[in-house]
Symmetry: C2
Subunit: 195 residues, 2 copies
Amino acid sequence: MTTADRLVESTRELLWERGYVGTSPKAIQRRAGVGQGSMYHHFAGKAELALAAVRATAEDMRAKADAQLSAPGTAYERISAYLLRERDVLRGCPIGRLTQDPDVVSDPGLRQPLDETFAWLRGRLAEVLAEGRARGELAEDLDVTTTAATLVAVLQGGYVLARSAESVEPFQHAVRGVLGLLAAQRRDVSDEERA
Amino acid sequence: MTTADRLVESTRELLWERGYVGTSPKAIQRRAGVGQGSMYHHFAGKAELALAAVRATAEDMRAKADAQLSAPGTAYERISAYLLRERDVLRGCPIGRLTQDPDVVSDPGLRQPLDETFAWLRGRLAEVLAEGRARGELAEDLDVTTTAATLVAVLQGGYVLARSAESVEPFQHAVRGVLGLLAAQRRDVSDEERA
Protein backbone atom coordinates (compact mmCIF):
# COMPACT_ATOMS: atom_id res chain seq x y z
CA MET A 1 0.00 0.00 0.00
CA THR A 2 1.35 3.44 -0.91
CA THR A 3 1.65 6.19 1.71
CA ALA A 4 -1.33 8.01 0.15
CA ASP A 5 -3.45 4.82 0.29
CA ARG A 6 -2.47 4.24 3.92
CA LEU A 7 -3.54 7.77 4.77
CA VAL A 8 -6.90 7.34 3.02
CA GLU A 9 -7.51 3.95 4.71
CA SER A 10 -6.72 5.40 8.15
CA THR A 11 -9.03 8.34 7.49
CA ARG A 12 -11.84 5.96 6.48
CA GLU A 13 -11.47 4.04 9.74
CA LEU A 14 -11.28 7.14 11.90
CA LEU A 15 -14.26 8.83 10.23
CA TRP A 16 -16.31 5.71 10.90
CA GLU A 17 -15.15 5.48 14.52
CA ARG A 18 -14.92 9.12 15.53
CA GLY A 19 -16.69 11.20 12.88
CA TYR A 20 -15.15 14.17 11.09
CA VAL A 21 -15.18 16.68 13.95
CA GLY A 22 -13.64 14.01 16.22
CA THR A 23 -10.79 13.14 13.82
CA SER A 24 -7.62 15.21 13.97
CA PRO A 25 -4.85 15.31 11.34
CA LYS A 26 -2.52 14.09 14.12
CA ALA A 27 -4.70 10.99 14.72
CA ILE A 28 -4.69 10.20 10.99
CA GLN A 29 -0.90 10.45 10.86
CA ARG A 30 -0.57 8.22 13.92
CA ARG A 31 -2.94 5.55 12.59
CA ALA A 32 -1.25 5.56 9.18
CA GLY A 33 2.26 5.66 10.67
CA VAL A 34 3.04 8.66 8.47
CA GLY A 35 4.74 11.92 9.48
CA GLN A 36 3.11 15.35 9.24
CA GLY A 37 5.36 16.50 6.39
CA SER A 38 4.56 13.40 4.38
CA MET A 39 0.81 13.82 4.94
CA TYR A 40 0.87 17.41 3.72
CA HIS A 41 3.00 16.34 0.76
CA HIS A 42 0.14 14.09 -0.41
CA PHE A 43 -2.94 15.99 0.78
CA ALA A 44 -3.70 19.68 1.36
CA GLY A 45 -5.28 18.80 4.72
CA LYS A 46 -7.98 16.94 6.60
CA ALA A 47 -10.79 18.04 4.24
CA GLU A 48 -9.03 16.69 1.14
CA LEU A 49 -8.19 13.41 2.88
CA ALA A 50 -11.74 13.07 4.14
CA LEU A 51 -13.08 13.63 0.62
CA ALA A 52 -10.89 10.82 -0.75
CA ALA A 53 -11.97 8.58 2.15
CA VAL A 54 -15.67 9.30 1.72
CA ARG A 55 -15.48 8.71 -2.04
CA ALA A 56 -13.79 5.33 -1.52
CA THR A 57 -16.39 4.29 1.09
CA ALA A 58 -19.26 5.45 -1.12
CA GLU A 59 -17.91 3.48 -4.08
CA ASP A 60 -17.69 0.29 -1.98
CA MET A 61 -21.21 0.74 -0.65
CA ARG A 62 -22.60 1.25 -4.13
CA ALA A 63 -20.83 -1.76 -5.62
CA LYS A 64 -22.10 -4.04 -2.81
CA ALA A 65 -25.68 -2.77 -3.03
CA ASP A 66 -25.71 -3.03 -6.82
CA ALA A 67 -24.48 -6.63 -6.75
CA GLN A 68 -27.47 -7.64 -4.60
CA LEU A 69 -30.05 -5.48 -6.33
CA SER A 70 -28.98 -6.71 -9.77
CA ALA A 71 -29.04 -10.42 -8.80
CA PRO A 72 -31.67 -12.78 -10.24
CA GLY A 73 -35.04 -13.07 -8.47
CA THR A 74 -38.23 -11.09 -7.98
CA ALA A 75 -38.08 -7.44 -6.89
CA TYR A 76 -39.20 -8.48 -3.40
CA GLU A 77 -36.52 -11.17 -3.15
CA ARG A 78 -33.74 -8.84 -4.25
CA ILE A 79 -34.84 -6.08 -1.90
CA SER A 80 -35.15 -8.56 0.99
CA ALA A 81 -31.67 -9.88 0.31
CA TYR A 82 -30.30 -6.34 0.29
CA LEU A 83 -32.08 -5.28 3.50
CA LEU A 84 -31.28 -8.50 5.34
CA ARG A 85 -27.63 -8.82 4.37
CA GLU A 86 -25.12 -8.94 7.17
CA ARG A 87 -24.11 -5.52 8.42
CA ASP A 88 -21.92 -4.12 11.14
CA VAL A 89 -25.05 -2.53 12.60
CA LEU A 90 -23.65 -1.18 15.86
CA ARG A 91 -20.88 0.70 14.06
CA GLY A 92 -23.54 2.50 12.05
CA CYS A 93 -23.43 3.36 8.35
CA PRO A 94 -20.07 4.87 7.36
CA ILE A 95 -21.88 7.26 5.01
CA GLY A 96 -25.02 8.02 7.02
CA ARG A 97 -23.15 8.82 10.20
CA LEU A 98 -21.25 11.64 8.51
CA THR A 99 -24.49 13.50 7.76
CA GLN A 100 -24.78 14.20 11.50
CA ASP A 101 -21.43 15.93 11.49
CA PRO A 102 -21.89 19.72 11.30
CA ASP A 103 -18.56 20.33 9.54
CA VAL A 104 -19.38 17.75 6.87
CA VAL A 105 -22.83 19.02 5.90
CA SER A 106 -21.66 22.64 5.87
CA ASP A 107 -18.90 21.74 3.37
CA PRO A 108 -20.53 21.32 -0.08
CA GLY A 109 -17.59 19.26 -1.37
CA LEU A 110 -17.81 16.75 1.47
CA ARG A 111 -21.60 16.60 1.49
CA GLN A 112 -21.79 15.90 -2.25
CA PRO A 113 -20.58 12.25 -2.24
CA LEU A 114 -23.01 11.47 0.62
CA ASP A 115 -25.89 13.00 -1.28
CA GLU A 116 -24.92 11.23 -4.52
CA THR A 117 -24.69 7.87 -2.77
CA PHE A 118 -28.14 8.09 -1.21
CA ALA A 119 -29.66 9.53 -4.39
CA TRP A 120 -28.18 6.64 -6.36
CA LEU A 121 -29.47 4.08 -3.84
CA ARG A 122 -32.98 5.54 -3.85
CA GLY A 123 -32.94 5.57 -7.64
CA ARG A 124 -31.71 1.98 -7.89
CA LEU A 125 -34.33 0.71 -5.42
CA ALA A 126 -37.04 2.62 -7.31
CA GLU A 127 -35.90 0.88 -10.53
CA VAL A 128 -36.10 -2.56 -8.90
CA LEU A 129 -39.58 -1.78 -7.54
CA ALA A 130 -40.68 -0.46 -10.95
CA GLU A 131 -39.44 -3.67 -12.59
CA GLY A 132 -41.44 -5.70 -10.06
CA ARG A 133 -44.52 -3.61 -10.71
CA ALA A 134 -44.16 -3.89 -14.49
CA ARG A 135 -43.87 -7.69 -14.22
CA GLY A 136 -47.03 -7.83 -12.12
CA GLU A 137 -45.11 -8.98 -9.01
CA LEU A 138 -46.05 -5.83 -7.08
CA ALA A 139 -49.27 -3.82 -6.77
CA GLU A 140 -50.01 -1.63 -9.77
CA ASP A 141 -50.54 1.47 -7.64
CA LEU A 142 -47.34 1.13 -5.57
CA ASP A 143 -45.51 4.48 -5.50
CA VAL A 144 -41.98 3.35 -6.29
CA THR A 145 -40.23 6.69 -5.65
CA THR A 146 -41.54 7.23 -2.13
CA THR A 147 -41.29 3.52 -1.25
CA ALA A 148 -37.62 3.53 -2.29
CA ALA A 149 -36.98 6.53 -0.01
CA THR A 150 -38.74 4.65 2.81
CA LEU A 151 -36.48 1.62 2.36
CA VAL A 152 -33.28 3.67 2.53
CA ALA A 153 -34.63 5.61 5.53
CA VAL A 154 -35.45 2.37 7.38
CA LEU A 155 -31.84 1.23 7.08
CA GLN A 156 -30.42 4.58 8.13
CA GLY A 157 -32.91 4.99 10.98
CA GLY A 158 -32.37 1.38 12.00
CA TYR A 159 -28.70 2.16 12.59
CA VAL A 160 -29.67 5.15 14.75
CA LEU A 161 -32.01 3.02 16.88
CA ALA A 162 -29.49 0.19 17.19
CA ARG A 163 -26.77 2.51 18.38
CA SER A 164 -29.03 4.10 20.98
CA ALA A 165 -30.01 0.65 22.29
CA GLU A 166 -26.53 -0.86 21.87
CA SER A 167 -28.36 -3.78 20.30
CA VAL A 168 -29.11 -4.91 16.75
CA GLU A 169 -32.71 -5.75 17.72
CA PRO A 170 -34.38 -2.43 16.78
CA PHE A 171 -32.56 -2.48 13.42
CA GLN A 172 -33.81 -5.99 12.75
CA HIS A 173 -37.36 -5.08 13.82
CA ALA A 174 -37.41 -2.00 11.58
CA VAL A 175 -36.25 -4.05 8.58
CA ARG A 176 -38.69 -6.90 9.25
CA GLY A 177 -41.48 -4.37 9.69
CA VAL A 178 -40.95 -2.70 6.33
CA LEU A 179 -40.52 -6.07 4.60
CA GLY A 180 -43.86 -7.13 6.11
CA LEU A 181 -45.52 -4.01 4.70
CA LEU A 182 -43.85 -4.55 1.32
CA ALA A 183 -44.86 -8.22 1.28
CA ALA A 184 -48.50 -7.09 1.35
CA GLN A 185 -47.84 -5.32 -1.97
CA ARG A 186 -46.93 -8.59 -3.71
CA ARG A 187 -49.26 -9.82 -6.41
CA ASP A 188 -48.75 -13.27 -7.86
CA VAL A 189 -50.22 -15.49 -10.47
CA SER A 190 -52.61 -17.09 -7.99
CA ASP A 191 -53.92 -13.61 -7.13
CA GLU A 192 -54.48 -12.88 -10.79
CA GLU A 193 -56.27 -16.14 -11.23
CA ARG A 194 -58.48 -15.36 -8.27
CA ALA A 195 -59.35 -11.92 -9.70
CA MET B 1 -34.00 31.83 34.09
CA THR B 2 -31.51 30.62 36.69
CA THR B 3 -27.82 30.21 35.88
CA ALA B 4 -28.22 26.41 35.92
CA ASP B 5 -31.17 26.62 33.50
CA ARG B 6 -29.21 28.92 31.19
CA LEU B 7 -26.34 26.44 31.14
CA VAL B 8 -28.68 23.53 30.34
CA GLU B 9 -30.45 25.52 27.59
CA SER B 10 -27.14 26.50 26.00
CA THR B 11 -25.95 22.89 26.14
CA ARG B 12 -29.17 21.72 24.45
CA GLU B 13 -28.64 24.18 21.60
CA LEU B 14 -24.97 23.35 21.16
CA LEU B 15 -25.53 19.58 21.24
CA TRP B 16 -28.09 19.98 18.48
CA GLU B 17 -25.84 22.24 16.41
CA ARG B 18 -22.42 20.73 17.03
CA GLY B 19 -22.89 17.35 18.69
CA TYR B 20 -21.23 16.24 21.90
CA VAL B 21 -17.66 15.81 20.61
CA GLY B 22 -17.93 19.23 18.94
CA THR B 23 -19.15 21.06 22.06
CA SER B 24 -16.54 22.39 24.50
CA PRO B 25 -17.19 23.54 28.09
CA LYS B 26 -15.83 26.93 26.96
CA ALA B 27 -18.48 27.19 24.21
CA ILE B 28 -21.25 26.35 26.70
CA GLN B 29 -20.02 29.05 29.08
CA ARG B 30 -19.83 31.59 26.26
CA ARG B 31 -23.32 30.80 24.97
CA ALA B 32 -24.81 30.92 28.48
CA GLY B 33 -22.85 34.05 29.44
CA VAL B 34 -21.61 32.20 32.52
CA GLY B 35 -18.05 32.05 33.86
CA GLN B 36 -16.05 28.84 34.27
CA GLY B 37 -16.18 28.95 38.07
CA SER B 38 -19.94 29.36 38.06
CA MET B 39 -20.39 26.47 35.60
CA TYR B 40 -18.34 24.10 37.76
CA HIS B 41 -20.25 25.31 40.82
CA HIS B 42 -23.47 23.98 39.26
CA PHE B 43 -22.24 20.97 37.25
CA ALA B 44 -19.34 18.55 37.62
CA GLY B 45 -18.52 19.01 33.92
CA LYS B 46 -19.64 18.61 30.35
CA ALA B 47 -20.99 15.06 30.82
CA GLU B 48 -23.30 16.08 33.67
CA LEU B 49 -24.54 19.13 31.77
CA ALA B 50 -25.11 17.05 28.64
CA LEU B 51 -27.12 14.53 30.66
CA ALA B 52 -29.40 17.27 32.00
CA ALA B 53 -29.73 18.70 28.46
CA VAL B 54 -30.53 15.34 26.87
CA ARG B 55 -33.10 14.53 29.57
CA ALA B 56 -34.87 17.86 29.01
CA THR B 57 -34.90 17.36 25.21
CA ALA B 58 -36.15 13.79 25.57
CA GLU B 59 -38.97 14.89 27.87
CA ASP B 60 -40.10 17.55 25.36
CA MET B 61 -40.02 15.08 22.49
CA ARG B 62 -42.08 12.54 24.42
CA ALA B 63 -44.70 15.07 25.51
CA LYS B 64 -45.18 16.32 21.94
CA ALA B 65 -45.39 12.82 20.45
CA ASP B 66 -47.80 11.65 23.13
CA ALA B 67 -50.12 14.61 22.57
CA GLN B 68 -50.51 13.62 18.90
CA LEU B 69 -50.64 9.88 19.41
CA SER B 70 -53.26 10.21 22.15
CA ALA B 71 -55.53 12.56 20.14
CA PRO B 72 -58.94 11.37 18.85
CA GLY B 73 -59.10 9.58 15.50
CA THR B 74 -58.24 6.23 13.96
CA ALA B 75 -54.80 4.70 14.49
CA TYR B 76 -53.88 5.60 10.91
CA GLU B 77 -55.01 9.21 11.37
CA ARG B 78 -53.04 9.65 14.59
CA ILE B 79 -49.91 8.09 13.15
CA SER B 80 -50.21 10.23 9.99
CA ALA B 81 -50.58 13.37 12.07
CA TYR B 82 -47.51 12.43 14.09
CA LEU B 83 -45.35 11.58 11.05
CA LEU B 84 -46.50 14.61 9.04
CA ARG B 85 -46.24 17.22 11.79
CA GLU B 86 -43.97 20.16 11.12
CA ARG B 87 -40.34 19.46 11.97
CA ASP B 88 -37.05 21.28 11.70
CA VAL B 89 -35.92 18.51 9.35
CA LEU B 90 -32.59 19.92 8.22
CA ARG B 91 -31.38 20.36 11.79
CA GLY B 92 -31.99 16.66 12.35
CA CYS B 93 -33.45 15.02 15.44
CA PRO B 94 -31.90 16.40 18.64
CA ILE B 95 -31.99 12.89 20.13
CA GLY B 96 -31.17 10.77 17.08
CA ARG B 97 -28.15 12.83 16.09
CA LEU B 98 -26.46 12.13 19.41
CA THR B 99 -26.42 8.38 18.72
CA GLN B 100 -23.82 9.05 16.03
CA ASP B 101 -21.51 10.64 18.57
CA PRO B 102 -18.88 8.13 19.72
CA ASP B 103 -18.45 9.72 23.17
CA VAL B 104 -22.21 9.60 23.78
CA VAL B 105 -22.82 5.95 22.92
CA SER B 106 -19.75 4.82 24.86
CA ASP B 107 -21.07 6.57 28.01
CA PRO B 108 -23.87 4.38 29.47
CA GLY B 109 -25.33 7.31 31.43
CA LEU B 110 -25.63 9.51 28.35
CA ARG B 111 -26.87 6.72 26.09
CA GLN B 112 -29.63 5.68 28.51
CA PRO B 113 -32.04 8.62 27.95
CA LEU B 114 -31.67 8.20 24.17
CA ASP B 115 -32.46 4.50 24.41
CA GLU B 116 -35.40 5.12 26.77
CA THR B 117 -36.87 7.76 24.46
CA PHE B 118 -36.80 5.55 21.39
CA ALA B 119 -38.01 2.51 23.34
CA TRP B 120 -40.91 4.56 24.67
CA LEU B 121 -41.76 5.86 21.18
CA ARG B 122 -41.69 2.39 19.64
CA GLY B 123 -43.87 1.11 22.48
CA ARG B 124 -46.38 3.93 22.15
CA LEU B 125 -46.67 3.51 18.37
CA ALA B 126 -47.13 -0.25 18.84
CA GLU B 127 -49.99 0.48 21.28
CA VAL B 128 -51.70 2.79 18.80
CA LEU B 129 -51.33 0.19 16.03
CA ALA B 130 -52.64 -2.54 18.35
CA GLU B 131 -55.68 -0.38 19.18
CA GLY B 132 -56.33 0.10 15.48
CA ARG B 133 -56.01 -3.62 14.86
CA ALA B 134 -58.33 -4.48 17.78
CA ARG B 135 -60.97 -2.06 16.45
CA GLY B 136 -60.79 -3.64 13.00
CA GLU B 137 -59.28 -0.50 11.43
CA LEU B 138 -56.05 -2.32 10.53
CA ALA B 139 -55.28 -5.76 9.11
CA GLU B 140 -55.57 -8.58 11.65
CA ASP B 141 -52.14 -9.96 10.82
CA LEU B 142 -50.26 -6.63 11.04
CA ASP B 143 -47.14 -7.09 13.19
CA VAL B 144 -47.42 -4.05 15.45
CA THR B 145 -44.00 -4.37 17.12
CA THR B 146 -41.92 -4.46 13.97
CA THR B 147 -44.15 -1.91 12.20
CA ALA B 148 -43.67 0.51 15.10
CA ALA B 149 -39.89 0.11 14.82
CA THR B 150 -40.19 0.79 11.07
CA LEU B 151 -42.08 4.03 11.68
CA VAL B 152 -39.48 5.37 14.13
CA ALA B 153 -36.67 4.29 11.79
CA VAL B 154 -38.29 6.09 8.84
CA LEU B 155 -38.28 9.38 10.77
CA GLN B 156 -34.71 8.94 11.96
CA GLY B 157 -33.48 7.81 8.55
CA GLY B 158 -35.46 10.58 6.88
CA TYR B 159 -33.44 13.12 8.84
CA VAL B 160 -30.21 11.46 7.70
CA LEU B 161 -31.26 11.60 4.03
CA ALA B 162 -32.49 15.20 4.31
CA ARG B 163 -29.23 16.37 5.81
CA SER B 164 -27.18 14.66 3.12
CA ALA B 165 -29.32 16.28 0.40
CA GLU B 166 -29.69 19.61 2.21
CA SER B 167 -33.36 19.31 1.31
CA VAL B 168 -36.49 18.16 3.11
CA GLU B 169 -37.63 16.22 0.02
CA PRO B 170 -36.14 12.79 0.87
CA PHE B 171 -37.61 13.04 4.40
CA GLN B 172 -41.04 13.81 2.95
CA HIS B 173 -40.75 10.99 0.41
CA ALA B 174 -39.74 8.48 3.09
CA VAL B 175 -42.71 9.48 5.28
CA ARG B 176 -45.19 9.44 2.40
CA GLY B 177 -43.84 6.06 1.31
CA VAL B 178 -44.36 4.40 4.66
CA LEU B 179 -47.79 5.99 5.05
CA GLY B 180 -48.70 4.58 1.64
CA LEU B 181 -47.65 1.09 2.77
CA LEU B 182 -49.53 1.50 6.07
CA ALA B 183 -52.64 2.77 4.25
CA ALA B 184 -52.79 -0.59 2.46
CA GLN B 185 -53.20 -2.22 5.91
CA ARG B 186 -56.42 -0.29 6.61
CA ARG B 187 -59.61 -2.28 6.81
CA ASP B 188 -62.88 -0.41 7.00
CA VAL B 189 -66.56 -1.06 7.36
CA SER B 190 -67.08 -1.11 3.61
CA ASP B 191 -64.42 -3.85 3.36
CA GLU B 192 -66.18 -5.86 6.00
CA GLU B 193 -69.48 -5.42 4.20
CA ARG B 194 -67.87 -6.54 0.97
CA ALA B 195 -66.46 -9.64 2.67
